[in-house]
Symmetry: C2
Subunit: 181 residues, 2 copies
């Protein structure tokens, strides 16, 4: 794992990938859930993560105000499905699905070691009327040796797509790009 | 253009595509801007669109409270770049880039005829502290004859990816899928 500059963390989330969000509950137990309802707010490492009380990790987000956004690539699809189709209420998903983790640097929540990239986040606001948590990234990581870097996108009906053709339009974007990326 | 059931509209936005957002200002002029900072809130046609006062269409969203989310596919990349690299403040982007439009059914904002799909939306809340507009979809459209259906994803550094390999995991998702999709 190599450290990623925080001003580049938005680039992990702007493309709209499936993510796995790790949390730690008030009882000290860690959990992880699969989520595609997340967006960057702007070019800062601020994100809007959308989930509500139906999610077992909701209380962890409300009370401990920390999480890790683990970016899912195509090779991790089956793990994301495992994680996304059961609840932490009655499962230790890490043990059940043999998911390797390691400690984060700035939050007390495990990182998923098998993921290509991770963003450690603090919850800085909760707009409960719309089930939006506002996150601020406080550290970001990327495993440059990770082989399959194709982000995964959820259609919502059980279909997923992986990144295919790439288009380089840096020169066209010019002054519209934020500094340092 | 064929009507898309509103309960399926989230499936256009959940995968995290580049979009072009059309609006109409207080002076009656329509505008369009390119945006990837958008997420579904849940399975309803409710979305969080993130933009701030730096955007010429901000005032239109605040005061007229309507927009259309036009979904961008790979064949529309150059148009999305044209639209995204100039401002409606000093350009009529529709004329300048020869962008075809037609009237929406429920909002007074033009739809981009060349896009694969469009969601007509009302702004139902504005969380100005975080530059989040909460949208509610009121009508949705899809052009089944559109050839290139590969959604486009922005990395944020001038690189874009189009959808590649598709994975069908409907059976695995089972009861986690919302009804009717």
């Amino acid at each position: 794992m190599e450290k990623l500059e925080l001003n580049k963390a938005f680039m992990l989330i702007e493309p709209g990938p499936v993510t796995m969000i790790s949390t730690r509950g008030m009882d000290g137990r860690a959990n992880v859930f699969t989520l595609t309802w997340i967006t960057v707010l702007d070019w800062t490492p601020r994100f809007a993560l959308c989930t509500g009380p139906w999610n077992y990790s909701y209380e962890a987000l409300v009370h401990r105000k920390e999480c890790v956004v683990n970016i899912v690539t195509a090779d991790m699809l089956e793990t994301a499905l495992d994680v996304g189709t059961c609840s932490g209420r009655d499962s230790d998903k890490f043990g059940k699905f043999d998911i390797e983790t390691h400690d984060a640097s700035r939050v007390d929540v495990p990182l998923l070691s098998g993921c290509w990239a991770q963003v450690e986040c603090r919850v800085v606001d909760h707009i409960s009327a719309h089930n939006i948590f506002v996150l601020e990234g406080v550290a970001a990581w990327q495993n440059h040796a990770h082989k399959d870097k194709r982000l995964l996108h959820a259609i919502g009906d059980g279909t997923f797509t992986a990144d295919g053709e790439t288009f380089h339009r840096r020169a066209r974007m010019g002054a519209k790009l934020p500094p340092g990326v």
